[in-house]
Symmetry: C2
Subunit: 303 residues, 2 copies
């Protein structure tokens, strides 16, 4: 395992995030004269957040020496899909959340119908961006790769992936489940999208099948670790740092890792997962340093 203590994750994340934000603003605009639906889309996407999926997508492309310019549309599409899922999750009929990323949620800032339609529009726009990016390339091998990636992104975010997980999560609220069941649920709800972010970035960048398998193992571990630390932060995080309320999982009767394993048990689990993730990168050179640093950041973050 190469480990470069000189790698500065903070600067890396700042640079990548500002590049992603520039691209997102290019797609969504930020004019007051835009139609209301576009303003709502832009409002929710530009409200910020960690940009974890775009960052993973770009870092995965870089880890195999790929042209990271090529994956920018993909990185943006992944963030739009993530944002749409948050908008719909926050709706009164769903989790009924008023605040997200330190700002009023979409249906509070605008109204409920606008939030429903803006979410739909972000999902649709994500696939438009992918299709346009794919058809701009003349090389037929790349074209086919884009179609594969689109199918994978759709599967990861659909009823057999993220949406299936959201559905299960909703149905299981208030009933107690096993750690294994909870893991399967999170694997769908947040894991699949994190996995596909890494996988699709690497695929577009021309990774080998063997590289993709290793990267998928990495993504699986950090995806779950991310969920475990999310649960931990909901118990002991600082609401002012996180930009949203804490302690909400308990109030809602959500199944969480601290509940099942205790706070210490959950923290130990997150650490084991991160070590497993790092091991999967053993065959990669220093170009995978961003992925390694992100893995460590997952358990060290405070929001």
């Amino acid at each position: 395992m190469t480990d470069d203590p000189a790698f500065d994750l903070k600067s890396y994340l700042m640079a990548v995030r500002s590049r992603v934000d520039r691209w997102l603003r290019g797609y969504l605009g930020d004019s007051d004269t835009d139609p209301k639906i576009l303003r709502a889309m832009s409002y929710s996407v530009m409200a910020g957040g960690k940009r974890l999926r775009p960052v993973l997508c770009i870092a995965a492309a870089q880890s195999v020496g790929g042209d990271d310019e090529l994956v920018m549309p993909l990185a943006c599409a992944l963030e739009m899909i993530h944002t749409y899922s948050l908008i719909h999750d926050d709706l009164p009929a769903m989790d009924d959340d008023d605040m997200r990323r330190g700002n009023p949620t979409c249906h509070v800032k605008f109204d409920e119908p606008t939030a429903i339609l803006a979410g739909d529009a972000l999902l649709t726009f994500a696939f438009e961006i992918l299709a346009l990016a794919g058809s701009r390339r003349s090389h037929s091998q790349i074209t086919e790769r884009w179609l594969h990636v689109m199918a994978k992104v759709a599967a990861a975010s659909g009823y057999q992936g993220m949406l299936g997980g959201q559905m299960q999560d909703m149905m299981l609220e208030g009933s107690s489940i096993s750690a294994a069941r909870l893991e399967a649920l999170h694997r769908l709800k947040t894991g699949k999208m994190i996995e596909v972010s890494v996988e699709s970035g690497a695929m577009i960048a021309g990774a080998s099948d063997k590289q993709i398998q290793s990267l998928l193992g990495y993504a699986e571990n950090i995806g779950l670790a991310f969920q475990v630390t999310d649960d931990i932060l909901n118990v002991k995080g600082d609401p002012t740092v996180m930009g949203k309320a804490t302690g909400t999982d308990k109030l809602r009767g959500k199944n969480t890792y601290p509940d099942l394993l205790g706070l210490d048990g959950a923290e130990a689990m997150a650490e084991t997962l991160i070590n497993n993730a790092l091991k999967r990168l053993d065959g990669f050179d220093k170009r995978a340093e961003p992925l390694r640093a992100i893995a460590r950041y997952v358990i060290e973050r405070n929001r």
Copy 2:
């Protein structure tokens, strides 16, 4: 203009619809043991309806002598996008409709969160189906064609198309607008999806640019005619035949053609549009007979 009085639209529609339904059932299943989200998706799609978009897509492919087997995934994706838009439109926060196609709407049959997620999942699944269909073909020219079609379908159903129209419709409810404004609104809300159904079917089937232009003109006219007759049926249709309540537009203060032009004026407008649509098919041979018959059916239908 060739006109084949022997063409039997009723049999044609029955055959095409049952083929589309077989494909849709293949995609969505119909087992009681399916996960709830899939049952909700299947429930709303299999509740029936006219299958206008798949029929137009298939008939357009046939009009240029294309392999209509090739467009079946596209035809199904278009119907899923249409159905998702109805599920979300019917939600309590939107039109708050309890009945659709003679059955309880998705959020009444299941519940509101399920209806939101099932709608999202149908939209996502539509793009998965398109991406998979596109990557199955090895011919690189077809692969690129699929990407173009996907970008067009996404644009037609997104914030600059259908969703933009739904948004405008919602915002304009209760305020009176001009006939030109109403036409622009419907062009987005229902027109774009009808246009892209015809256009994409023809594109996948290998139509020439000139053929596509004529077919787009056809689609534009019948799309608007369809909306005008929808408004007319909401005034004078039979609720038992239509499977949904009538007179609802007036109650909601919706802008309609009978309001703006009177019932006679609206009927005259629909007839003019259908004649324009038929004229655009002058250069086509008898393989366009289904498209011609569909145009006439638009104003003769009673549901």
